[in-house]
Each structure stands twice: as structure tokens, then as C-alpha cells.
């Protein structure tokens, strides 16, 4: 057997174990693991250790956890892992805006296994974690250079948390100037939803600027929205369309003129490393997603790091503690009276910082630039190939180069065949590719799909990916019903009504499922 060299398509079938839910495997009496017992002398001296527990706080019923032998637990989760298409096993060009790059194994092994990180308590005295603090400090210096910002905090443990932290800093900044009128923030529709939701959580009213006919954020509408009430702007560039806004500095200048602060969501920075920086565009703050641009694995939705950078004037508001270096020793500085405090306990996802540090150390300035260039080259190559596929539309910015990703549309395919983007994305799995990312909501681009062939993917990888989309397009024109009922070679078949909004259908736990299906009486509870 071999792949068809001409069509590049695989005869794929994902692992399908028809796996039970873990509770269905329980055999009363089985043990998955034995745990350490205290020494007999200890037990003797302590006596009944449970006697001290007040009656109301004593657990009377055992938790209804399953009882399963170790090998079966291992096998179960191995099966579930095989029923998951991580980037390690597929050409993950699919998840546009997410920069699914290769996470080098050497850094993973060091971070996961070395006792110098694995077995460190976060509150250890600084003199016992000089190596770790050096890594954090140096990573900060790297990101300062890459962005042009003056200081960084690694406490935010996701991009959205970085945005939220920035909104908190804006609030503290304006309060420090007794400027109480600033109640609004502005973002653009093609910026990530967190650029709206983060500031809203911090108490701001959010104004969203829609794109103009060519997909650019509308500068005139933006200027009209600015006022003495504007606390700050939160903007992605390139936006999720992959279109670079060449007037970005005019947005920043206009915002600064009304006294607002400017935040650059650099989740989409992969194509700009060493090419363009937040500093030159005039921004006051920015963040990088270390799980995107700097190779930390995405971990089935985290742990992540939203590395938050700011200019010198805002540094006093950053979360505590901050890592300082006196030329000889590294220390943790908690003495920051104007700090917003903590956003994440301890120092954040420190093992992830080690991975990002290692990745930058393996690339240097040239490697970072090569990363950017190859990601943009890959994207423009793919754009050309995909434009030739029947049914694909490339909205906006005609004749312009895109940076690291493109938001495409199957609008024409839908009109011609009735097959929409949700149908095509399900069919992807039948060829061993991850379902692509459509778009954040609302869908401004009809029938959207967003692809990002970052630097990790070879020309061959891209050609294979394009071949699959070409095949699905062909199938849609030949036999639309076939595509609409996909997938066929994935783990499970098409879900009936995958949006679950009715109370009687909501079952996010096994006990809720049993209850709602009438399979078992609800667990007795002592409350109320």
C-alpha cells in the first residue's frame, strides 16, 4: 500500500476504539494504584486520625469514582489519545490564528522531566532557584528586543488573560492620573473576541469597529468612536484575516491624541518576528502567545502563557512578583505599591517559559526571521494554490499580499452545491487532517475557514493539504449529500444537533447523563 503519488490523498482511518465512558468499566474491588500508608509507628502514635474531624465535615459516603485496574485505565486513556489528532500526528495547517507549530521534543522532555523544574516549589527562596529566575529574566530580555517593549510579565496564563490584565493596567493607569471619565475601549471585529471580552470583564463598555469593503478596520469610524471616554484600544494586526493594516500607526496616534492607551494583541505575530515590532507602531502594551509564536505545545487547550509587555511608564502596574537582576543575583520583587496585584498564582506557567526560552535559543535572530519569512511564504504559496479550487472565495484586499494566515470563504461552494463550511470541515477528518478553524463569531465572512500554514510545514505538507480541499470541493460538486453526511473514517459519525441548548439535553457529567436519560436515580445528596 502506498499513498497515491498523483492525488496525494491518503486512505485514512482514525483509530476508533468504540470506547466506553470510564464509569462503565468499573469493577467493584479493582484498584488502579495503591498509595503509601503511614508507618505503623506513626499510625500508633496518632491513633484515629479521623476522630478530629467535626461530624458535619466527615465524608460519609465514598465518592462514586470508578474502580479499575491500572492497565485498563492506561489503555483507556491511550485509546482516547489515539482518538485525538494532535499536531504531532497531523499536518495542522487547519487551526488558523492558532499557529500550530512544531513543539520541539527536546524542550518538552527537559521541562517535563528535569527535577530542576519539575520538583521546584514556587515559593522557594530566590537563592535556591537562580537558574529558573535566570531563564525567566533572559526570556524577558529576548521578548523586549523582539517587541521593543520595556518590561514583560509572564503571569498571564493565556492570551485572553493577558488582554484582561492589560485592561486592568489601563484602569490603574487612568486612576493614577485621577482620570475617571474613561469608561470605553475600542476594538475591531477581526480582532480576537477576548479583545472585546477582556476589557468588558474589567468593566469597560466596548465599541467594535467593523471592517470596510476591503477588510481593513475603518479608520474614519475609529476616529469617530474616540473620545475623552476612551480608556484604550485593543487591536490585532495582522487581523484574523491575515491582512496587515498599513495605517496601524495612524490608529495609535489618533488614540494617543485623546489620551487613550494602545494595546497590540500579537497573537498573530508569527509572520513578523524580526520584521516589525509593537514599538515602531507606537503601542504602549502588547502580548505574545508563547503557545503559538514561541512553540509551547497547546496542550488540548493549555497550559499557555500570554506574555504581556509594556512601556517603561506602565511597568509599575504590572502583576507581582517581578524578576529583577542586580548583575550578580536574581531576585523576586514584591515591593510594587502600584501593581494591580496578582492575576495568576505564583509565577505562572514557568515550565512553559523554559520551553519558549529554549526555542528562541535554538533560533537566534536569524532563525526568528527565517520563521517569519517561511510562514509568510508558505501562506502566500497556499493562497495561490487554494484560489484555484472551485468554490473557494478569498474575500478582501484583492491583489495584496497576506501575512501568516488567510480567512477564506466557501460561499460560492455553498451557493453552487449547498455544501457549507461546517460540512467541509467534518469531511477533513476522513483524510487524516484536523478540522479547520472557521472563524470567531459572528461570521462576518460567510462560510469562513481560516488556515495558517506556519513555518513548520513543508511544501509537500501544503500540497497534500491543498489536495484534500480540492478533493472535497470536487465531491461537493459531484455528490453534495455525501459531504453533508461526513465524517465516515473518523472516530464517530455525525452528531445529531451538536449545539446543546435545551436544559433536558444538557449532560456535561456522567451523573447528569444518567439522570436525564432516566438510567439511574439521581445520587442521594445530604444538602438542603
Amino acid at each position: 500500500m502506498g499513498r497515491d503519488a498523483k492525488s496525494l490523498l491518503r486512505k485514512f482511518h482514525e483509530a476508533k476504539w468504540d470506547e466506553q465512558i470510564i464509569f462503565e468499566m468499573s469493577v467493584p474491588g479493582e484498584r488502579g494504584i495503591l498509595v503509601r500508608q503511614a508507618e505503623s509507628k506513626v499510625r500508633k502514635e496518632v491513633g484515629n486520625e479521623l476522630a478530629v474531624i467535626p461530624a458535619a465535615l466527615r465524608r460519609k459516603d465514598s465518592p462514586k469514582l470508578p474502580e479499575i485496574n491500572q492497565m485498563r485505565v492506561l489503555r483507556h486513556f491511550m485509546h482516547l489519545s489515539q482518538e485525538t489528532l494532535g499536531t504531532d500526528v497531523t499536518i495542522d495547517i487547519s487551526e488558523g490564528t492558532c499557529t500550530m507549530k512544531y513543539s520541539p521534543k527536546v524542550q518538552e522532555h527537559l521541562a517535563a522531566r528535569h527535577p530542576g523544574i519539575k520538583d521546584i516549589h514556587p515559593l522557594q527562596p530566590p537563592e535556591t532557584i537562580q537558574g529558573l529566575l535566570e531563564i525567566i529574566y533572559k526570556l524577558e530580555q529576548f521578548l523586549k528586543e523582539i517587541s521593543g517593549m520595556d518590561r514583560f510579565s509572564f503571569q498571564p496564563s493565556g492570551g485572553a488573560q493577558a488582554v484582561y490584565t492589560a485592561a486592568s493596567i489601563m484602569r490603574a493607569y487612568h486612576a493614577s492620573r485621577n482620570d475617571t471619565e474613561r469608561t470605553e475601549t475600542i476594538t475591531t471585529m477581526f480582532s480576537h473576541p477576548c479583545d472585546a471580552a477582556g476589557p468588558a470583564t474589567a468593566g469597560y463598555k466596548v465599541i467594535t469597529i467593523m471592517p470596510d469593503e476591503e477588510g481593513y478596520a475603518d479608520l474614519e469610524a475609529f476616529k469617530a468612536a474616540l473620545s475623552k471616554h476612551t480608556a484604550g484600544i485593543f487591536i490585532t494586526n495582522p487581523e484574523d484575516t491575515g491582512i496587515y493594516n498599513p495605517r496601524i500607526d495612524e490608529f495609535v496616534k489618533a488614540a494617543h491624541e485623546v489620551g487613550a492607551l494602545c494595546y497590540y494583541d500579537q497573537a498573530n505575530a508569527n509572520g513578523m518576528l524580526g520584521i516589525a515590532r509593537a514599538r515602531e507602531a507606537g503601542f504602549d502594551m502588547c502580548h505574545f502567545n508563547l503557545h503559538k509564536t514561541f512553540s509551547i505545545p497547546h496542550g488540548s487547550m493549555g497550559g499557555a502563557v500570554g506574555a504581556l509587555g509594556c512601556t517603561a511608564g506602565l511597568a509599575k502596574f504590572l502583576p507581582i512578583p517581578q524578576v529583577k537582576f542586580d548583575g550578580k543575583r536574581y531576585r523576586l520583587d514584591y515591593d510594587c505599591p502600584q501593581s494591580i496585584g496578582k492575576v495568576r498564582s505564583f509565577m505562572g506557567n514557568t515550565q512553559s517559559l523554559l520551553k519558549a526560552y529554549s526555542w528562541i535559543m535554538q533560533h537566534g535572530a536569524e532563525g526568528l526571521r527565517e520563521t517569519a519569512v517561511c510562514s509568510v511564504l508558505n501562506n502566500n504559496y497556499m493562497l495561490k494554490k487554494l484560489s484555484e479550487i472551485p468554490g473557494v472565495v478569498v474575500p478582501y484586499a484583492h491583489g495584496k499580499r497576506r501575512l501568516e494566515q488567510v480567512r477564506y470563504s466557501w460561499e460560492k461552494l455553498k451557493q453552487d452545491t449547498g455544501v457549507g463550511t461546517d460540512d467541509v470541515l467534518r469531511r477533513m477528518a476522513d483524510f487524516g487532517l484536523q478540522h479547520y478553524w472557521t472563524s470567531h463569531h459572528p461570521w462576518v465572512v460567510p462560510e469562513p475557514f481560516t488556515l495558517e500554514p506556519c513555518e513548520s510545514y513543508s511544501k509537500d505538507d501544503i500540497d497534500e493539504y491543498v489536495a484534500v480541499l480540492r478533493q472535497i470541493s470536487k465531491e461537493a460538486y459531484d455528490n453534495p449529500e455525501f459531504v453533508k453526511h461526513a465524517p465516515y473514517n473518523s472516530v464517530v459519525h455525525k452528531v445529531i444537533n451538536s449545539s446543546i441548548n435545551e436544559p433536558e439535553r444538557i449532560a456535561v457529567t456522567w451523573r447528569q447523563y444518567l439522570k436525564k436519560r432516566g438510567l439511574q436515580k439521581p445520587m442521594s445528596s445530604l444538602r438542603k
Binding site: M100, M272, S345
Partner: protein, 478 residues
């Protein structure tokens, strides 16, 4: 120790040797011939033509000032190991720090599963290709639901601090009230994050505590609770380790004012201690770090929130929820998104707070841990922790000048006071380091009213010999 200087020199030689022809193993199209072919294909004469959309004024004009790269994997490994070996780790040292992150036993199967590339490198894929990930999340919620005796959990949060903060925001949205009552003894890491997160509209009122028992002052609670109170939040066990024996009454007082009763719980205790739902909690939250993660200098944290099966709660969760459902194939389990429009992914600024990438790989690890442990493993772990910590407290308080500060039962952590030794905790901890012991958390700044006190943490990982070593060191240091 390896010589870092030697490594640096070697690195410089290597990079200059390769300068003319850099092909990066993680960047396949850095092969010059391939790159040239692709540039031709897209009609660009050179690389910078790809960037025509970035005006010259916005371009970065020089080369980044970064260290010369360590291009080969072997040298990179040496370099990082050199840095990590400068840390004193808790395998070589005997550690008694807790305060929100503690050494617990990690079964090998947990590391095996969270190291699987399929899980480790997956992200937001749909439930077909990523069915296994969705099922693992469903099982995480289901297993935690049994441990907590509650029906509903969402995908995980960043950490316990975020879980506490979001629980308060949920409560405030449910009853449209803007005050929260929290104990003065709250973990300062959590308290700090909460105070920032609930700005600008919700305010904290602190409830005092009894300095001899560590328990909440109920009179103070009753004087501060009102019809403005969105929620009463307690930690149980508390930050200072004690079991809040008045939890039932506190819950009654809270619910008597129609406020939510939020309990922040250390889930490792739930084999022996009642889940908060059974003593009246309407929202349970916490950090699941003890359930299968190494410490990773604080990188192993992850938050959870749990409630009953009522729409007034379900509709207020901020993070994604995966529900089990049917596929077109009879008898096959499938998964779907539950109330997606609740989230900021669905509704941007109109969603509940904000959601995003959090701690998925740890949630999967928790599922593995609880599956291995089962009811007996959780009960036995809880018992071992209680035995070892009670034993340790007893032995330590026999040392002259050292005493247990709070007269209350505790779980895992307890406050040791050194006032009578005439020494500060800082000085004692410095001296302990010379014995390769990392002493308990110094409380003298956070809780000056407790004098020179430290929070000691003793888990199931500690042996009788470990305690004896600590006692011996105490005797020498005092």
C-alpha cells in the same frame, strides 16, 4: 559543574561555521532551493517582497540583538541542564512549603498520558477528529463531579485563584448583588487576584477570625452580611490549614440572606472530608493541582468550578462545556457544545467574562488520576495525609520554644509559632536551608498578629524519617 563559558565559545564557532547556509530542522522550507521555488511560484523576487504591505516606516530596520543561537540539540540540552542544575530541587531537599502548591504523589500513568503527543499538541479541534480529547474532558468533569458531589463543571480555569474570582462573578450575576464576604485568613495569592478581578463593581468585605482557633468570627459575619451580599466565600480547609467546623452555620447564614455560599476546597482532602455541597455550598471551587501534577514551580495549577444542575448556575459558567449526546450511528457517544453563546467565543463582550486557552492538559491528567485512585485511593491518601501531618505537628511542637499556633483540627497544613525561640522565621528558614531543608511559608508579614509563625505542609509524600530529620534540624537551629 559544566563550564558555561566553554559552551558559549563553542556556540560562537558553530554558528559562524553555518552562517552561510542555515537550514533549521524546525523550518523545512528554509532549504534554499525549496524557498527559491516557492518564491517563484508566488511571483516574488526576494523575501522582502512578501512584506510589501508593511510600510517602510513601520519595519524594523536592524537585526535583533539576541544571543548567538545554540543550533544543535545536544548543546542546547547541555545549556538548559546547566541552568536547571543551579536550582535546588525538592528531591534533593526536604520541602515543607505548601500554601496553594504542595508536593503530592504523582502516579507514573499520569505523566505517561499527559506526555502523549496526541493530547499534548491538540488544541481546539472538533469532536470528530478530537473525539478522544472531548471524551477525556467529559470524564474530567464527571469524575470531579463525583468527588465534589455536584453535577456541573466546565472546562478548567487557569488556577484556583481564577476559579474563586469567577465564582464570585457568577454569584453576582445570579443575584445582581455587589458585595462579597471573604475571611481575613484567605490565601493572599488568591485574595489579590480576586480583588483585582472583581473590580470595578464588586467590593470585598473581610470577615475577621478567631486568633486562637483560626475559625471565622460568626458574629462579625452576621454583622456584615446583608441584602447586598452576593456571596459568602470560605476556604475549607482554610489557608492556615484548619477545618472550618462552623461551615454548616456559615452556609445557613449565607443562604438566609439569599446569598450564594462559595466554598474553596483542596480536592485532595475529599476522600475523608465531606464535599462542600454536602454542607450547603451552592458553588464549589478550587485548584486541582494536587490531583496528578508535579509542582513545576507553580506551573501545575488549574482551576475548577462546580454547581448543581440548575440553569441559573449552568448559564453563568464562563468557559466551554462539552455535553454528551448521540450521533447518527445508534449507540455511539458523540459530543457537542453546551450553551456556546454564554461564552465570549460565542458572544464577544456580551458573554460571561472572557474565556480562552487555560489548562486542558492538566484536566486530562486529573481524569487519569481520579480513575487510578478510585474511592479507596482517595480515602487512603486523605488518611495518610492526616496521619503524617498530625504526627509531624506533634513531633515538632515537642521541640523547645516551638508550638502549634491554632487550636483546631487541620488537614495537611498547620501553623507553627517560633516566638518563644526568640528567632525569626526568616532566620530559622535560612538555617534550615543549610540542613537541606526548605522550611514552611513565613506568615509574619501576611499575618503579623500570629507573630513569628510559619505554615508547614506535610503530605502523603513525607515519611517518618523525613519528620525526624526536620525535628533534628529544628533542635540544632533553635
Amino acid at each position: 559543574m559544566r563550564s558555561e563559558r566553554r559552551l558559549t565559545m563553542a556556540r560562537t564557532e558553530r554558528s559562524s561555521a553555518r552562517e552561510s547556509h542555515s537550514v533549521f530542522p524546525y523550518i523545512p522550507n528554509s532549504v534554499p532551493e525549496v524557498k527559491a521555488e516557492m518564491l517563484r511560484e508566488v511571483g516574488a523576487h526576494d523575501e522582502m517582497e512578501l512584506y510589501v504591505e508593511i510600510p517602510k516606516r513601520l519595519r524594523f530596520k536592524r537585526k535583533l540583538h539576541l544571543p548567538a543561537p545554540i543550533l544543535d540539540e545536544s548543546s542546547l540540552r547541555k545549556h538548559v541542564e546547566y541552568l536547571l542544575e543551579r536550582n535546588q530541587n525538592c528531591k534533593d531537599y526536604l520541602n515543607f512549603l505548601g500554601a496553594g502548591c504542595a508536593e503530592h504523589f504523582v502516579p507514573a500513568v499520569c505523566d505517561e498520558i499527559n506526555g502523549r503527543g496526541e493530547f499534548l499538541t491538540a488544541y481546539v479541534g472538533e469532536s470528530y477528529a478530537d473525539h478522544g480529547k472531548w471524551q477525556a474532558f467529559f470524564e474530567y468533569c464527571s469524575l470531579m463531579g463525583e468527588l465534589l458531589d455536584m453535577d456541573v463543571l466546565s472546562c478548567p480555569l487557569y488556577d484556583g485563584a481564577q476559579a474563586a474570582a469567577s465564582s464570585i462573578r457568577m454569584a453576582s450575576r445570579i443575584n445582581d448583588r455587589k458585595e462579597v464576604l471573604m475571611p481575613h485568613t484567605m490565601n493572599p495569592e488568591i485574595s489579590s487576584a480576586v480583588r483585582n478581578y472583581i473590580k470595578p463593581d464588586i467590593t470585598v468585605k473581610e470577615v475577621t477570625y478567631d486568633k486562637t482557633t483560626g475559625l471565622l468570627d460568626l458574629e462579625d459575619l452576621e454583622s456584615k452580611i446583608s441584602n447586598k451580599t452576593a456571596a459568602v466565600l470560605i476556604e475549607n480547609p482554610s489557608y492556615l490549614g484548619v477545618l472550618e467546623s462552623q461551615a454548616v452555620e456559615i452556609g445557613k447564614i449565607a443562604r438566609g440572606k439569599n446569598a450564594e455560599f462559595i466554598v474553596y476546597v483542596d480536592p485532595i482532602c475529599l476522600g475523608v472530608l465531606a464535599p462542600p455541597a454536602q454542607y450547603g455550598a451552592t458553588i464549589t471551587c478550587g485548584d486541582f493541582h494536587p490531583l496528578g501534577m508535579h509542582m513545576y514551580a507553580g506551573g501545575g495549577q488549574g482551576g475548577f468550578i462546580a454547581t448543581d444542575d440548575e440553569m441559573k448556575y449552568i448559564s453563568q459558567f464562563k468557559d466551554l462545556m462539552f455535553g454528551i449526546t448521540d450521533t447518527v450511528e445508534r449507540g455511539e457517544y458523540g459530543f457537542g457544545e453546551v450553551l456556546f453563546d454564554r461564552t465570549s467565543y460565542g458572544s464577544r463582550e456580551k458573554g460571561n467574562e472572557f474565556t480562552g486557552t487555560s489548562t486542558g492538559i492538566w484536566a486530562i491528567t486529573v481524569a487519569v488520576y481520579l480513575s487510578l485512585m478510585g474511592p479507596k485511593g482517595m480515602a487512603e491518601t486523605g488518611r495518610t495525609i492526616m496521619q503524617m501531618s498530625q504526627y509531624a505537628a506533634k513531633q515538632l511542637s515537642k521541640v523547645r520554644g516551638v508550638k502549634l499556633k491554632l487550636r483546631s483540627p487541620f488537614f495537611k497544613e498547620f501553623v507553627i509559632n517560633f516566638d518563644k525561640t526568640g528567632k525569626t522565621v526568616a532566620r530559622i528558614n535560612n538555617a534550615l536551608l543549610k540542613h537541606k531543608i526548605i522550611g514552611g511559608k513565613d506568615l509574619s508579614k501576611e499575618f503579623p498578629e500570629l507573630g513569628q509563625s510559619a505554615l508547614y505542609c506535610v503530605t502523603e509524600t513525607k515519611t517518618m524519617d523525613d519528620i525526624q530529620n526536620l525535628v533534628n534540624a529544628f533542635k540544632e537551629v533553635m
